[in-house]
């Protein structure tokens, strides 16, 4: 029977600390990324190797992309938005590899045998997307306060007129809704993609999943772009002085 679970399954437990399959995959992605980073770093040369050209194209291209949104302050924001993009796109794409959601083991839970996959895309777990959303929104507040000082709070609490006061309340709500929308947009897209792939693979396992895999590759890229670009846009909005 088709196995679909909204939550990430626990695959192990170390001293009461649950290790879910999505957390495991996140560590896998981290391992891959950090290996890539050190491979690049150890061979960094003014005359680049082919590998270095690829990495430079990635980092330099991303930098230029975000520079078009945040301008001169890109230097400040790039660690966050660049890592958001790279982490999300790697996590999304690694979830499309064969074996994700299919390799697993049976686990007895509540008297029933339940299939538990070892791998699950990190972004198909709300814990990951919420963590990213929280970091993103908190960083937006941090840079807002750092750049504008106390005047940053004026956009939330303005007693000049009832209209401004009301707008301020709306802004407070919107800051919280940013977390929710960031988290659920990413989770929804990736989880839906996984479910779609699982259903298609269940119904017709040969040929049919291929166009959907292509679609999911595109979705993974778009979601990474949307998440990081929105963060960049909010960052530049939060640090803009006029209101």
């Amino acid at each position: 029977m088709l196995h679909i679970s909204l939550t990430a399954e626990k695959i192990a437990e170390i001293g009461g600390f649950p290790i879910t399959n999505s957390l495991f995959t996140t560590w896998l992605v981290m391992g891959v990324l950090i290996t890539l980073v050190f491979l690049t770093r150890s061979r960094l040369a003014l005359v680049p190797s082919r590998f270095q050209v690829v990495m430079e194209g990635l980092v330099g291209g991303l930098y230029n992309l975000f520079e078009s949104v945040t301008g001169e302050r890109t230097k400040l924001y790039f660690p966050l938005v660049g890592t958001l993009f790279i982490f999300i796109i790697f996590t999304n794409w690694i979830g499309l590899l064969p074996g994700f959601g299919t390799i697993g083991f049976k686990m007895v839970q509540g008297g029933k045998e339940i299939f538990t996959p070892i791998f699950r895309s990190g972004n198909a777990d709300l814990n990951t997307t919420f963590a990213l959303a929280l970091i993103s929104v908190l960083t937006i507040q941090f840079f807002g306060i750092k750049t504008l000082g106390l005047t940053y709070f004026k956009r939330f609490l303005n007693l000049k007129s009832p209209v401004y006061f009301f707008v301020g309340i709306l802004d407070i709500v919107s800051e919280f809704s940013k977390i929710i929308s960031f988290a659920f947009r990413l989770f929804g897209n990736i989880f839906a993609g996984e479910v779609l792939l699982a259903v298609i693979a269940f119904l017709m396992p040969v040929i049919a999943p291929i166009p959907f895999l292509g679609l999911e590759v595109f979705v993974g890229f778009i979601q990474a772009l949307v998440f990081s670009m929105l963060t960049a846009a909010f960052l530049s909005a939060a640090t803009a002085s006029g209101h």
């Binding site: 996140t26 560590w27 680049p48 963590a131 970091i135």
Partner: protein
């Protein structure tokens, strides 16, 4: 929250995971690579500026060299021209002086010859005179006295001489 699978401890773990990733990527990927890109950009700009400079310098040098070559050619031609003219002048001079010398030698030869002739003539005349005197003395001496002898003799000699001159001339 429980239904969505959100667990604070897992959330926190993911926050930490992502923070580690941000730090590692920033420190070991973004900064070195962006620095490298900037440095390469600077190096390339420098190289391009240098090559531009070299190109203009080369052009300048080429122009200079051409100028020098032209000047050298012109000067060489001028020198050759000058020497040719000088050589022609010298040739003319040499020919003229040679001609003159030849003329002078010819003249000299002529005058020498004439003088010789004259001298010969005068010698001849003198000897003839002496001979005639002796002869006349021998012949006339017996007939005429000295004074008459001389007179006649002189007259005869004058006649002879004029005749001879006519003959010569």
């Amino acid at each position: 929250m429980e239904k969505l699978g959100i667990e604070p401890i897992l959330l926190l773990t993911q926050v930490i995971n992502f923070s580690i990733l941000v730090i590692v990527l920033t420190k070991f990927l973004y900064k070195p690579i962006l620095k490298m890109l900037d440095e390469r950009k600077r190096k390339i700009e420098e190289g391009l500026a240098l090559s531009r400079e070299m190109a203009t310098k080369k052009e300048e040098l080429d122009r200079d060299r051409e100028k020098v070559l032209d000047r050298a050619k012109n000067e060489g031609a001028k020198i050759i021209e000058e020497y040719k003219a000088q050589a022609k002048k010298m040739e003319a001079e040499i020919i003229a002086s040679a001609n003159e010398e030849a003329k002078r030698l010819k003249e000299k030869a002529k005058t020498d010859q004439e003088e010789e002739k004259k001298k010969m003539w005068s010698d001849l005349r003198k000897q003839l005179f002496i001979l005639a005197l002796e002869m006349s003395r021998k012949v006339v001496g017996e007939v005429l006295n000295d004074k008459a002898q001389r007179l006649i003799l002189e007259r005869k000699l004058k006649l002879l001489e004029s005749e001879k001159r006519e003959n010569v001339n």
